[in-house]
Amino acid sequence: MMYRMMTLALACLVAFQAPALQAQDGPLRLEIKEGVIEPMPFAVPDFVPESGAAEELSRNIARVVAADLSGTGLFREISQDAFISRVTSFSSPVQFADWKAINAQALVTGAVAVDGTGRVTAKFRVWDVFAGQELGSGLQFVGTVDGWRRIAHKVADQVYSRITGEGGYFDSRVVFVSETGPKDNRAKRLSIMDYDGANLKYLTDSSSIVLAPRFSPTGDRVLYTSYESGFPRVYVLDVASVSRRLLESQDGTMSFAPRFSPDGRTVVYSLIQGGNTDIYTMDIATGASQRLTNAPSIETAPSFSPDGRQIVFESDRSGTNQIYVMNAQGGEARRISGGTGQYGTPVWSPRGDYIAFTKQSKGRFHIGVMRVNGEEERLLTASFLDEGPTWSPNGRVIMFTRETQGAQGQSRLWSVDITGRNLRQVQTPGGASDPSWSPLQ
C-alpha cells in the first residue's frame, strides 16, 4: 500500500511537469566523450606519369609516400588490389563513392613529370573522402631525379600535416654509430641515413671509437665524442664536407656527451676534471667555456630546452641517478624524476612538452617520457637494454638503441610513438646505436 502511495506521489510530481517532457529547448544535444584509436585507412594510387621518363618515378614516389604514412602507425594503407577507381589524370574528378566503398578515409592523388634536364616535378592533392572535399590545396615540389626520395618524403610530410594537424618528420635524417664485429671488439663508425634507413653514408672510419653523435639545430653539423686521442674528446663535423675539428679542451680533461644549444652557437657537455664530472657550456666560435655545476657527484647527459632557457641533465647527487632541471646559466637544480629505479639520458622534446629518458628498474631498461615538471611519467618500452632516446622533429616519435642479450647480442635502432604504440625496428644494414634525429631538411 505504502508502495502504491509513493508511486502515486511520484506520478503526481511528474504530472506537474509532464508538459515539459514534450518540449525540448533547441536541438537535440549529445556529448561524445569516448571514441576509438585506430589507424586511419588511406589510399595512395600510383601517381600519374606526365612524361615518359616519369613512369617509374611516379610509382616509386607514391610507394614512399604510402610507406611513410603507414610507418607512423596512425594510418593504414588500403591495398591497390582493392581499388575500384583508377586515377588516370591528375585533374579528373575524384569518384568519392568508389573510395568510400573501400572505406578509404583519406586519398592522395598526384602526378609526376620529368623534363629534359632531369628536373622532377611532383604535384599532389589530399582528399577527405567522406566529406567529399580536398584537404588544403594542391601543391608541387621540384627536385632532381636523384633526390626523388626527398620529394616523396616532402609530399608525405604535407599529407601527414594536413590530416593530423602537426608537422611531419619524413624529410629528415638520422646520424648514428654503425657497429660491426663481435661485442668485445666492435668497430664503430659514424653514419648518416634518411629517417627510414635509405641513403646510408659513413662519416668516419672505424679506426677509433666514436660515441654519441648529435645533430645541430640546422642539421648541417654533428657533434660527437671520439677516442682518437686515447681520451674522449668532442669534435664537430660538417656533414656536407665531412670535415671536422676538435673543440677546445684542456690537457688532463675528458669531455663527452655534447649537445648543441637551440641557436647552434653553444655546446653543453660533460667534463671530467680531477676525477669529478660536471656540466659545462662552450661558445663554439670563441672556445670560451663556463662551468654550470659544481658538485662532487657525476653530472652528465645535458640537454637544452627548446627555448634555450633551461637544461635537463642526469646526476647521482641523491645516491642514485635521477633527472634534474636547472637554469641554462647554471645554479640551483631541481629534481624532476620521482619514481623508483635509475634515470638517465634525458632529452627535451623539440615541442618542449615532454622529456624522454632511459630508466632502469627491476632488472629491465625502459624508454619513457614525462612532463617537464616530472609528472605523467609513462614507460613506453621494456627490454634487456634500451637507452639513448632521440626525438623526431615533430616531437611525436622517439628513436633509441635496443641491445639484445648474450655474447651474440647486437644493438639496433628502434622507434616508438610517444603513446607507446607502433614500436618498430628501424632498418639499418647492421648493428647501430646512439641515434640522433635531425630537424626537417
Binding site: 500500500m1 505504502m2 508502495y3 502504491r4 502511495m5 509513493m6 508511486t7 502515486l8 506521489a9 511520484l10 506520478a11 503526481c12 511528474v14 504530472a15 506537474f16 511537469q17 509532464a18 508538459p19 515539459a20 517532457l21 514534450q22 518540449a23 525540448q24 529547448d25 536541438p27 537535440l28 544535444r29 549529445l30 556529448e31 561524445i32 566523450k33 569516448e34 571514441g35 576509438v36 584509436i37 585506430e38 586511419m40 596512425l74 568510400k100 578515409q105 577527405d128 567522406f130 566529406a131 567529399g132 590530416i163 593530423t164 594537424g165 602537426e166 612538452d353 627491476k362 629491465r364 609513462r378 614507460l379 613506453l380 618500452t381 621494456a382 627490454s383 603513446t419 607507446g420 604504440r421
Partner: protein
Amino acid sequence: MATAMNTGQIISGAGHTVLIGWLLFGGAFNTDPIPFEVTQVTAISTEEFEALMAVERAPNAASSVTEPTPPETVEPPAPALSSQTDAETAQTPPTPAEPITPDPTPEPPAPTPRPEAQVEDTAPVLPSPPQDTAVLLPEKSLRPKPRPAPRVAPEQVAPPEPETAIDDVVREEVVADDTATTQREEAEATAPEEAATEIVTEAEEGGGPIAPTASMRPKTRPERPTQAAEAKPETQPETPKPATPKPAETDNSAVQDALAAALGQASEPAPDTAPSGPPLTGGEKDALRVAVQSCWNVGSLSTEALGTTVVVTVDMGEDSKPINGSIKMIGSSGGSAAAAGQAFEAARRAIIRCGSSGFNLPIEKYGQWKTIEMTFNPENMRIK
C-alpha cells in the same frame, strides 16, 4: 505503545486508501487511459528530469493534484521499491490488525546481553583480517589484464577467429547445405575487430605485475527496443505516433503505470518554437551516442587537437541520415583554430561514416532529432 502506533497507522492507511481510491477511480485525474503501459521509469534520465523541472510551464491539471502530497509520511516503504509483488504489499495493511503485534522485532535487543565478558576480543580480531584480504583479492582479479591491440575502443573486443571477416555485426558462417529445405545465401563469418580499452605499451604488457591504470568504463545501456509505448499525449495534435500498448513487465510496473497515467493526463502541446513530439529516451540517445563514437577515430589527431573540444551541429534527413553539407562547427575550446579544424574534421568523418546507412532513430520523433548538436570532448581519449 506499539499497538497504539499500529492502530494509528491502520487508520491512516485506511484513510489514504480511500483517498487514493477516490483519486484513481473517482475521476480526479480524468484518467481514461489509466492503463497506459508507458516505458520504464528509466526512460526518463536524471538530466531530463532536471531539465523538466527547470521548464516553467504550469500544467492546468496541477490544481487538483496538490492533495496527494501526504504520502510523504510514508518514508519507510522506500526500500520496498525493489519488490515485485504488488499483491503482498497491498494486503498487508488490511490484515495486520492484530498480527502486527508479531512485530516483536524489537525482541532482538534481548540477545544484547550477549556482549558479555571478553568474547569481543576473539570474535572481532580473527574475522577482520580474512575479510580484508577477501575484498582485496577479488578487486584485483576482476580487473582485466590489459592486452595490446591495434584498435582502442570504449569496450574490449576479443580477437576474432582467423578466417573471420571484420564487421560490426557478429554473424556465423553460412555454407551451402544440399540437405536443407530452404537454402540460405552463403556468407562468411564476421565479428568486430579486436580492440583494447586503452593503449598498452611494451612496458605494461611485459610479464610484470603492472596493473592497468584505468578501470573499465561502464557499459552503455542497450538500445531500447521500442519507443512507441513512450508517453504519447493524446492532446498533442502534431505527434503522429500511436501508443502501442505494451505490457509493462518490469519490477517498476506500478510506477510506470502511474507515470503513464500522469503523463497522459497532463500532456500539453509544445510551443511552436520547440521541436515537436516526445523527447528521445535515454536509451535512444545512448544508442545514437554509441553509434557516433564508434566512428570517432582520434588516433590520427595531433596532441593539441586531442585537447580541443568542438561543438558540431548537423541536420538530419527523415531517413535518419546526416545531411553532409549541413555539418558545421559552432564552437570550440582548448586549442588553436588549426587544432579545432583538425578536431572538427575527425568529428565530421565520424558523423558521415556512421550515419551513411542511417542512425537508428524513431521516425515518429523526427521533430526532436531533425537537428542535432554534438559536443566532441576528447578528454577521456587523451589519457588512454
